[in-house]
């Protein structure tokens, strides 16, 4: 029973959400919205499990004085600081001027922006390694990447504009690659994904793919 009921829920809900797309009549028109709200409510409950797990593991690390346990203290303190500031702020916790906002602007934002920004370095080192003319495929990758890169910055304006060209060769080539061969590849990938998704969704709804429920009784 512990396994059958969830399978029935999955099948019924899944099929209901497929057919609601075709039925404009109420109540079907509200299914998606309602699910979206329910999902967010369930996720908001589940995050307690995650947060407790993070805190538990950090506390264990500190208690047992494992390697680098000092940093776990920082994790716990930071978490508590943010949580307290957020709860103290009430509904308007994000209003400019609150403690939560200050932490957000001066700590959270620079951290996440910098983490994102170091991608600039990684993209350079990855392209140095990957863009080598080793075989047909790799050469195509290299050439396409190279041309698009050139077309997207000012090389046209620097090299060709002084010649009095009103034609922008690099940009044109770059646009051509983006609009045609790139689009073709994207489409093949997209249609493939559509079929993969449809098939996976079907297996889930039919109860053939059920490992997400775990095992046992």
């Amino acid at each position: 029973m512990r396994r059958e009921i969830p399978l029935i829920i999955t099948a019924v809900v899944g099929i209901a959400f497929v057919i609601q797309y075709f039925i404009p009549h109420s109540p079907f028109d509200r299914f998606e919205q309602l699910f979206s709200d329910w999902f967010f409510i369930i996720a908001a409950c589940a995050i307690w499990l995650g947060a407790l797990n993070l805190l538990k593991l950090s506390i264990i690390k500190v208690q047992r004085q494992k390697k680098d346990w000092q940093y776990s203290v920082i994790v716990i303190v930071s978490w508590l600081t943010m949580a307290i500031a957020g709860f103290a702020g009430g509904r308007g916790f994000q209003t400019p001027g609150t403690a939560f906002d200050w932490l957000y602007v001066n700590i959270y934002t620079p951290l996440s922006a910098t983490m994102f920004a170091i991608l600039a370095f990684f993209v350079a080192s990855a392209s140095y390694r990957a863009f080598r003319a080793r075989n047909v495929q790799a050469t195509l990758l290299l050439v396409a990447g190279f041309l698009v890169m050139m077309g997207r910055v000012l090389f046209d304006d620097i090299f060709f504009a002084p010649l009095g060209w009103d034609f922008q060769p690099l940009s044109e080539i770059s646009s051509f690659i983006m609009n045609y061969p790139n689009l073709a590849g994207q489409r093949a990938i997209m249609i493939g994904i559509a079929l993969g998704t449809v098939s996976t969704a079907l297996r889930i709804m039919l109860g053939i793919e059920r490992s997400y429920l775990g095992g046992g009784d």
């Binding site: 009921i5 969830p6 829920i9 019924v12 809900v13 899944g14 959400f17 497929v18 329910w38 999902f39 967010f40 409510i41 369930i42 996720a43 908001a44 409950c45 589940a46 307690w48 499990l49 947060a51 993070l54 920082i74 930071s78 978490w79 508590l80 943010m82 949580a83 957020g86 001066n106 700590i107 620079p110 951290l111 983490m115 600039a120 370095f121 047909v136 495929q137 790799a138 990758l141 290299l142 050439v143 396409a144 990447g145 041309l147 890169m149 997207r152 051509f176 045609y180 061969p181 790139n182 073709a184 994207q186 489409r187 990938i189 249609i191 559509a194 449809v198 969704a201 889930i204 009784d217």
Partner: protein, 229 residues
């Protein structure tokens, strides 16, 4: 000198994360630990106010109020189910009845399967098929006949799209060995995939550079400049 503690902290953390590029070090570890704790707290609080309070409470409370004070059944009562599902999820904390959390999970997975079945079929399937069915040789004239190729590049491009989509899809066939003609087509398909990857990659390099420019702009124009003004 204009001292703003916020800017100094921001600069300290920015450089802390960047120091990871050289190698792992205590400065990065401090920044990382702050990041994990603070961001986990951030989402914890955000989900509480934006989901539990503004979605569950705000919908449920008026409905319960209406039910008990006026005896009316309103649509908001449906959120009672959501609340119960959320509680079932929390039952994970009690090992004996943890299995009940499979119910909300089953609901989430089922709805996701149903919704994405449709969404992907429409946007990635039907619409892409529709877009691929275009005349090869320029626009069709109004009389219904074939118009001359007005633009060589456009005609060539359309042909490329067709060949690329076709061979690209052949590559994704699982139940046939990539041999002979079929193998040749699949091979051409991988060429197109490689061009796609190369193009997206090249396009992205710029994007990533601009993000770094944003951070350097902060360090140079806000922090360092701030010290000297």
């Amino acid at each position: 000198m204009n001292f703003d503690i916020g800017i100094w902290i921001a600069a300290f953390l920015t450089l802390g994360i960047m120091s990871f590029l050289y190698k792992d070090n205590p400065w990065y570890k401090i920044s990382e630990a702050i990041f994990i704790g603070l961001s986990a707290g951030y989402w914890f609080v955000s989900l509480f106010w934006q989901n539990l309070v503004s979605k569950l409470w705000d919908n449920l409370w008026p409905a319960l109020d209406a039910l008990f004070t006026r005896g009316e059944f309103t649509g908001g009562l449906l959120y009672l189910i959501a609340g119960i599902l959320g509680l079932m999820m929390l039952m994970r904390l009690v090992p004996q009845i943890g299995w009940i959390s499979r119910w909300p999970l089953a609901l989430v997975v089922g709805a996701t399967a149903g919704l994405q079945f449709i969404n992907y079929l429409v946007s990635n399937g039907v619409i892409q098929v529709y877009n691929t069915i275009t005349p090869l040789f320029g626009p069709v004239s109004e009389a219904g006949g074939i118009a001359p190729v007005t633009d060589v590049w456009h005609g060539l491009g359309n042909a490329l799209i067709l060949v690329g989509t076709f061979t690209g899809l052949v590559y994704f066939f699982f139940s046939k060995e990539h041999k002979g003609f079929f193998g040749g087509a699949a091979r051409v398909g991988t060429w197109f995939l490689m061009i796609t990857f190369g193009a997206s990659f090249g396009y992205t390099v710029m994007s990533r550079m601009s993000l770094l420019i944003g951070r350097l702009d902060f360090l140079v124009n806000t922090w360092i400049t701030g010290i000297f003004t």
